[in-house]
């Protein structure tokens, strides 16, 4: 556990160094595309006179380089072929650097897969001097009993979501409060170690320093949920190419995240199999004519498949749009039902607000909101990422939710467990700092 604490802390230091240099890259390694944005942080203390920065202080940075490349070697949001992925990352980073006209050395990455699993942790301590101090917060976080999440799992996020002091719960900031018993709730997100290691290796091979990693579901939620939804409770469904991420927010904290290993690529695969066309053709047909609600009009709308396999009869085939919808809909329903199952398991129905926000590239299927409303609940809307400065028009679509969310994550990371000083009793016995602390306390 200390190991991870140290490595996450090292990443935080790297991020701080990158902020000082002023240029950082964010890298969204997805199953269908790899997007890289180069951010420049400057005039951090820009004062407009009204006390607020533009976008209420969200826009401390500016996107100066953006590049997207077709993803290769990534399946289900996990790296499948290292070489291919490395080359794809290199392509995206080089193009973004070229647009930014600067070199980036630090990168913050996110990915959707690697089987994220959420744990709710609780810890409780007795306060020594009746008032909560900085060290007590660290102590209560360290006191959370970590569940046995098994071999080969790694903690990706460990965010304190709630503090309670004696009988008062829901404290945002317990420091300075007076009480006897401080307890904390922490949300822990674990992922497969192997997947992270593969990603880190790929990024290292591109001569980049990793300044942070995040879950794609989490950052998509940051970007596409508006403030009220984050406060009152909402679920963000990030429908990507190979995986669909689900994150639940309340009181501006993520309290749950999961991923379904199904996504838009499976819809494309179904079309390719059903119409016996290539994957690329299927993707084109899905993008142009796809849908989930068949109407009478769709029976008459014939789609030219337009392959070029050489067999004239086969290349001139036509299908009606209804047939296409008939192929797509079961798969989309399957995805949404999986999501429903996960939301049920997470207890989403107990939240005060039942808002569901669909985002991600696969959420752009026409008519999806109607279908989702029938499966997930009535409050469904499409979410698009926040507007950030300098973002190219091409990167403002729903497919870039997690990329933009990663920018916000880079600018304003939420408190994590490793942002607090590790309490002294967790240090190794002969630690010099412990000796120093003893001197400081007793003399």
């Amino acid at each position: 556990m200390t190991d991870l604490y140290q490595s996450q802390r090292a990443m935080r230091n790297m991020r701080r160094a990158a902020m000082q240099r002023g240029v950082i890259a964010v890298l969204d390694v997805g199953s269908s595309k790899i997007a890289c944005l180069v951010l420049r942080f400057d005039n951090l203390n820009e004062d407009r006179g009204d006390g607020l920065g533009s976008l209420a202080g969200q826009a401390q940075f500016r996107v100066i380089g953006a590049a997207t490349t077709r993803s290769r070697g990534v399946r289900f949001g996990e790296i499948d072929a290292m070489q291919e992925t490395e080359r794809a990352i290199r392509t995206a980073v080089q193009a973004a650097q070229k647009m930014a006209q600067t070199r980036v050395d630090h990168v913050i990455a996110c990915f959707a897969g690697a089987r994220p699993r959420s744990y709710g942790l609780a810890g409780e301590i007795q306060l020594a001097d009746g008032q909560v101090g900085e060290a007590d917060v660290a102590r209560v976080l360290a006191a959370c009993d970590v569940p046995d999440f098994g071999e080969g799992r790694e903690v990706l996020h460990a965010q304190p979501v709630n503090f309670a002091l004696d009988h008062r719960s829901g404290l945002g900031d317990p420091r300075g409060h007076v009480g006897n018993r401080l307890s904390a709730d922490m949300h822990l997100l674990t992922i497969d170690t192997v997947a992270v290691q593969n990603l880190l290796y790929c990024i290292k091979r591109c001569d980049l320093e990793i300044a942070g990693i995040a879950s794609s579901a989490y950052v998509a939620g940051i970007a596409s949920l508006v403030e009220d939804e984050q406060e009152l409770g909402a679920a963000c469904i990030d429908m990507g190419g190979g995986a669909t991420g689900i994150s639940i927010f309340i009181k501006k904290h993520m309290i749950f995240a999961e991923a379904v290993r199904l996504g838009g690529d499976h819809v494309t695969g179904d079309i390719a199999k059903g119409l016996s066309v290539s994957q690329a053709t299927a993707e084109r047909i899905k993008t142009f004519y796809g849908g989930v609600h068949a109407t009478g009009m769709d029976d008459r709308e014939m789609i030219e498949i337009g392959t070029n396999c050489g067999d004239w009869e086969k290349d001139r085939r036509k299908v009606s749009r209804t047939e296409l919808i008939g192929i797509m809909r079961p798969r989309v329903e399957e995805i949404l039902e999986e999501v429903r199952a996960i939301l049920d398991a997470a207890g989403f129905e107990h939240l005060p607000s039942q808002q569901i926000v669909l985002t991600g590239g696969a959420s752009q299927i026409p008519g999806l909101d109607g279908l989702a409303a029938r499966i997930l609940g009535q409050n469904v809307r499409f979410g698009r990422p926040l507007r950030v400065q300098g973002l190219p028009q091409a990167a403002t679509g729903a497919a870039f939710s997690s990329t933009v969310g990663l920018c916000l994550f880079a600018a304003h990371p939420q408190d994590e467990w490793w942002d607090f000083e590790i309490p002294a009793e967790r240090y190794p016995a002969r630690s010099l700092r412990r000796a120093a602390k003893w001197f400081k306390d007793n003399w």
């Binding site: 080359r87 290199r90 080089q94 591109c206």
Partner: protein, 302 residues
Amino acid sequence: MQPLRAPEGRFDRPLPPRRDPAPSRLAYRVDRLWLTPMFRRGLRVGLPVLLVTALVGGYLADSGNRAALVAGLADLRREIEERPEFMVSLMAIDGASEPVARAVRDMLPVDLPASSFVLDLEALRASIEQIDAVENADLHIRPGGILQVTVRERQPAILWRNAAGLQMLDIYGHRVATLLDRSARADLPVIAGEGADAHVDEALAIFRAAEPIHHRLRGLVRMGERRWDMVLDRNQRILLPEDDAVTAVERLIALDQAEDVLGRDIASVDMRNDQRPTLRILGGRTAEFNTINGSETGVQTQ
């Protein structure tokens, strides 16, 4: 599945199905290096500077090259200096008498025609003004390559006889020339004595005051570098005071006009005490004076 093994021979090499958009590792690294600001600046500024420095340094490292460069530069300089536009071929001297003009011509350090870059007019002017007879000189180069020298000569006002001979001085006491013969400038008064040249203005004032007796006046002698003696013919001397000698002279003139003092057998008149001029009778005439005195006063002399 994509083939994982390495290609074995030239026929086994798999043909790339389409162009790979990914940069090679090397291209990627070079690209990143090129985007590094320090490297870029070093290449764009540092490298040219280094190259030029190396080339120039390499060329100048050889002493033969250095000498050739210096000689070439000197040639170029001489060529420009010797263009006809910059040549001075004549020297015109205005306001100088013949001997002074000859002296000025001798002072020109170079032979004409010469380039105007060679002529140092300021130094030349200073050396011309070293000539005693020249009060000041004005030099400039006129269009057409003429060195115009305008000289104002000193005007002799007085003669000063000292151990070296007879000098002509101007009104400021500055030497103008040596005079071999007093009669050549009979119109100028004469002074003598050590340090007389420093008080020429006073001497001239005395001469002006002594205008009524100028036919008897032979000159002034500076006594002890302190005061003047006026020497008249018949070896008469007028001892003038240190201060206000002119007034003393005027009083002496008045005395002379009233009493004809100077016409008598008097060796000297001491005017140093302004309350009481003192006369000294000529050596051989004392007895006669006593006789006269006795007959007038009735005292019998032995």
